[in-house]
Structure formats: structure tokens, C-alpha cells
Subunit: 198 residues, 4 copies
DNA sequence: CATGAATGAGCGTTCATTCAT
DNA sequence: CATGAATGAACGCTCATTCAT
């Protein structure tokens, strides 16, 4: 039990480290953030960080994974559910946008800073990222099969655009805590389904 | 003539410095880029950079301005022209997306790094950026008045979304030189007008 | 005991840093001295200095304080003692001149370089310096009241002159380790009391 | 005539350069002053300074010489005159103190910065400086022979002290343009002749 | 005589990282 | 598990100086 509680303690501290790193990376960027500031934010000395991360780059990887893990797994659920296209699209957007509120800026860090990871470290992420896009593409594919959307829709373009639009709004969500995510989700979904025109 | 050519020399070098800085900032981010690398890219010694920029931050400001000056002025022209909504929207998107090819990554830098400028330095940019969004909003306002789009469209949301979508694609344009901008412009415009649904 | 010795370790190193800085500032002036040379003199790497000083300017402040702290507190004792004027004057001069031997050139640095401190940092010093002069003035005031000196002596002038004379000789003391301070003290005191004339 | 006027022009500019350098050296010290600031103060470009000084060190030498040339030659006149001791002492102090007003801070620079000159460059100055002190010593020697002062006065000490006292006040004169030099001269002379005691 | 452009060395400072305690 | 002390490389920047024009 003592071992377990120690383990818990470690996990708690590690989580706290990830959140501190996420906040610093989000505010100053990966290169602009300092390990000293991350340590200060979580209330330990600079050297102690190295019990939780092997290096600064390692911290970035941890933050990125923290940022997309849930987000990617929720996508898997959405794609697997037997729902009409419109519901799936709404669920996707809702999940994506609200992730920006719930992951301590880690999703923003994933978007803005992941390219600074070395190729090897990024490999893990790439898989999750690609999976996300492919699942979204498959939703559009299915919609075409079900005649829910025009058959001339480019599914790759569509998925990329949905992701890009959500990320663009995500930046604004992080910066403006007043933004109403529910309303925003409605508007985005509506736009994607029907456009602005008459 | 000697005077003019001397003047040209300075202007040429300054432009070359801005482009070198844009490239380095785009690749490594503001904090990750080094003045040494910028100098090396333009073929001078590190110290010589300071003949053209008062500081690294000043270089970032110059890059950002370089990135949005034309882009903003083109928007002014588009908004002023007497054209139907659909043409204006297409022109906007076309201008926005092709800027990512013509400004040596400076527009990408403006989007990703401008928040690292101090408040005073950013003031110059803010005006141009706000103007851009407001002009775009006015195009949507006008479209409502002309009954070209539904009257329940939130023009602020619409403008922000167009900008966000273009910037998201801009990132991809910069990273992938093969991307067909003409085709992309069509698809984006089409989506915004009619959506994916039937 | 381990804790105390650790604390000692830091204090020892900090003192060593102050002395190294004093020596370099005295030899090359504040601007002419390099942090690299200071670090080398105390046997650490350049960057390690910043564990003991927040900045080079901070090091100058530390040196100045080190240079005048004892010197100012001794003045307080002298002024407080119930002794005849001549004894107080002698004590003052003796204390002032011998400080130049005991503070590792820090007093010289205080005199020659303190004006390079920013106004805020200099504030700490100003108080001590003013106190010193005022205490000395009060000794002259008292001497007038006790009729130990002519009543037309300008006490401000007198204090300033004593200080100036001692500092002038201090420069020579630092440069020439052979100078006999005891003899010098006698001569200065004698001059101030009786002048060169008959 | 054209040649002469050109020569004059050069001499004027050189003088202006010396004064500019004196002012910068006095304000920031030799190492703290920049050639750029000196050039700016005299209204030319940085590179143009090198028509008047071979190097920054050369500029310091020129300033030092400018600071003590007149001052030393005046001392020669004073020592040569057939006047009583008291008159000579007064003339010396008057000349010394008023030099601080008339040489654009160059005398202050001579005192505070001359040690940063390399040994060879300082040689010229040393001669003038030693001459000054020796002339002053000879005045005290003569005063002993004429029985104008006690025969136990140490003439070397006396000369050094007079110089030191004047330089100490000189610092204050430079910093405070309101100081009454005439009054100060009287007080210093009086002190040196009669002391503060009764 | 003066300039503007450039240099290359050096500066003060910060950084990610290590490791004995 | 955590610290405090130290490292050495890199950073942004300033400098005195040079030289073609």
C-alpha cells in the first residue's frame, strides 16, 4: 500500500508537471519557455523536473500526448457509433472545441509546437493525428455512401478543413475564456452543413 | 544615380534580411530562431544584422508587417469593388491563400509568432489585422443587405471563420509546395457558400 | 551541522565572489572589468557567477556595500564616544585610511565606480555615505561648541575635505602596499589641526 | 590661405573631437564610453572619428593632455614667480580648482582614467604630472628655507596632499556647477596654512 | 574629409542539463 | 525524491575598427 501511495504520489506530481509544462509552452512557445519557469509553476526546483521528464523535449512530447489522447479516443467512439452524419459531425466538433477548455492548453501546444519534436519522438503523435483525420474522412466517406452529402465532396479536403476550422477557433477559445462553446459548435456545424449562402 | 543605387543597396539588403528572418522564424519559431542563422542565411556576419534591425524583436515586427501589408491592402481593394458577394468571397480567399506562396513564409510568421511582440510593437499590426477582419465583416453585412446570404448569419463569426480556415490551409500550403491553390480556393469558396450537405 | 556547513559554503563563495569582483573593478573599472575575469579569479565558470549575483551591476552594488559597511559603522562608534575632538579626528582618519588596506580594494571601487549604479541601486549606498559625512560634520559642530576649533570653520567644507583627503591618499595606499598608514594618519591629522604654517 | 583655412578647419574639428571625447569619458568612464557616442556628440559619423584619433586609446591620451597641459604650464609660472609662500599656495590652488571649470571635464578624465593608458602612452603624461608635483614640492622646500612654514613639514606629503585635496574638490566642482570656486580656494588655502585648530 | 556598410571579437546573460549530497 | 551548486554552450547584442566609395 505504501508502494502504491508512493506510486500515486509520483503520478500526481507527473501530472502536475505536464500541466505546468503545458501552460508554459502555451504561453511562451516551446523554445521560449524555460525549465526553470515550469519548475517554479509546479513548485519544485529546476533540477527536480528531471525526475518527471528526461529532457525538455520529452516534456513537450508528454504535453502533446496529454493534449490529444482523450481527443483521439473520443473520435474513435464517435466514428464507431451508429448515428446519422449530422449527429456525428456535431459530436466531432463539440468534442474538438471543448477539448480546448479541458486540457490545460495542451491541445494548443500540440498544434503549435509539435513540429519542434525530433522525427522519432513525433512518430507516436503522428499515428494518433493521422488516425483522427482518417476517422473523420471515413465519416465523410460514409456520408457520401448514405447520400447525406453531395458525392462530389473531397473527403480529404473536408476532414482537413473541419480540423483546421476547429483549431483556429481553439486558439480563440484558449485566449478568451468567455467564448460560448455550445453556441460556437452550433454555428460551425451549421456552416459546414449548409454554408452561408441561401 | 550613385545615390539612388546606394539607397537601393540598403533597401535590397534590408529586404533580404527580412526574408531571411521570415524563413528562420517560420522554420524554428521566433524564440527558436537564432540571429546567427538569420545572418548566415543572408550571407553576412551576425553583428551586421543590427545594421538593418535594431533588435531581434524588431526583425519579427518587420517580418510581420511584410507578411500582411499587401494582404491587407488587397483586402481594401476587394471590399471597395462593386461586385457580387460570391465574387468578393472568392477574391478574398484567393488573395489570402496565394499570399502564403508569395510572402516567403512571412504571413505564417505573422499568424504564429506575432503574440511574442511586446504590446507597443504589436500595436502597428493590430490595426491592420483588425481592419482586415472588419472589411471582411462588412462584406458579409452587405451580403445580408443584398439578400445574398441568410439574414441570420453572424457576420463576426463568419469573418473569423473564413480567416481561420484560410490560415489553417496556409500552414499546409507553406509545408507542401505541391498544393494547388486554385483548386483549393474553389473548394473553400464552395464550402462557405453551400456547405457539404445536400 | 551539515546544514550549517552548506550555508557556510554559500556564504563563503559569495564572499569570494565579492572579493574577486572588487579586485577586478578596482583594476579595470566597472565597465572595463569582465564577468569572465571575475569568475576566473574566483575559480568558477562565467555563468556560475550568476548564482551569486543577479547581474554585473548587482556585483558592483555588493562590492560597494562591502566597501563601506564596516567603515560607516566604525564612524558611528567614533562619533558616539566621549572623547576630545583631536582624538575623534585621529580615529576617523585612522579608520578611513586603514579601511583601504582591509577591504580588498572595495572602498576604492565604492569611490570610483558607484556613480555607474542606477539611481535605484545607489539609493542604499547614498544613505550610508550621507550618514558618514553627517557624523563627521557633527564632530566638527561639537568641536566648535567645545571651543576646540575656531567658530568660523565651515563644518560642511571641513567634513568634505577630510573625506576627500583620505580618499586621495586611499588611492595611493591601494597602489603602494609599502605606504605606512600609521605615519600617514599622524601627518594628516596634524595638518588638519595646525596647518603647514607657523 | 586655402591651405591654412583647411588646417584651421582640421584643428577646430580636432578640438571639437577632444571635447566630445572628454565629455563622454567624464560621464561614462573610458571603458563605458563608446566611439559612437563621441562621434554623435561632435556631429559626425563613427568612422570619421578616425581622422582625428588613431584609436580610442589615442583619444584618451589626447583628452588627458588637453586636461593637464595648461594646468602644468601655469604651475611652472607660479613656481618661477618671486612671491611669498602664501601667495604661491593660493595661486596653485586657484589654478588647480578653476581648471576643473575650464577644460571640459578633461582634467577629471586625466585623474580618473589615465591609468587605463598603456605604459608607453602614459609616459608623456607622467612627465607632466611628476613635474607638477615636483614644482609644488619645490615651493614647500623654498618655504622651509624662508622659514615660512615649520621645518618638519614633509614636502612630498604636503604636495601630494594639496593635489589630492584639489582633485577631490574638483570632482565636486564638475558635478555641481553652482560651487563658488573663489570661496573654496580661500577655504582650502586657509586650512592648509592654519588648520582647523585654534 | 567623410560616409555607410561591414566585420569579428567580445560582452553580459540565460539556458538545459548534471550530479553529489 | 529533491535539492543546490555548477557547468559549458549558446544567446542577443555592442563594440572598436576598417575600408571602398
Amino acid at each position: 500500500m505504501s508502494e502504491e501511495s508512493q506510486n500515486n504520489r509520483y503520478e500526481q506530481q507527473k501530472l502536475s508537471a505536464v500541466k505546468a509544462a503545458a501552460a508554459e509552452f502555451a504561453e511562451h512557445g516551446y523554445h521560449g519557455a524555460s525549465t526553470k519557469a515550469i519548475a517554479a509553476r509546479m513548485g519544485v526546483q529546476q533540477g527536480s523536473l528531471y525526475y518527471y521528464f528526461k529532457s525538455k523535449e520529452d516534456a513537450l512530447l508528454a504535453v502533446c500526448l496529454f493534449g490529444i489522447r482523450d481527443y483521439a479516443s473520443r473520435m474513435r467512439e464517435i466514428a464507431a457509433n451508429a448515428q446519422p452524419f449530422e449527429a456525428k459531425l456535431l459530436a466531432t466538433i463539440s468534442s474538438h472545441l471543448s477539448s480546448y477548455r479541458s486540457t490545460n492548453e495542451a491541445l494548443k501546444v500540440y498544434n503549435a509546437e509539435r513540429l519542434y519534436l525530433s522525427a522519432e519522438k513525433r512518430a507516436n503523435l503522428k499515428e494518433l493525428g493521422s488516425m483522427y483525420r482518417e476517422l473523420l474522412e471515413s465519416i465523410f466517406d460514409e456520408a457520401i455512401r448514405d447520400a447525406a452529402i453531395h458525392d462530389n465532396v473531397d473527403c480529404h479536403f473536408a476532414a482537413q478543413t473541419v480540423i483546421g476550422m476547429c483549431n483556429a477557433w481553439g486558439e480563440l477559445i484558449v485566449r478568451d475564456p468567455e467564448l460560448d462553446i455550445f453556441e460556437l459548435t452550433q454555428k460551425c456545424t451549421n456552416l459546414l452543413l449548409r454554408g452561408f449562402g441561401k
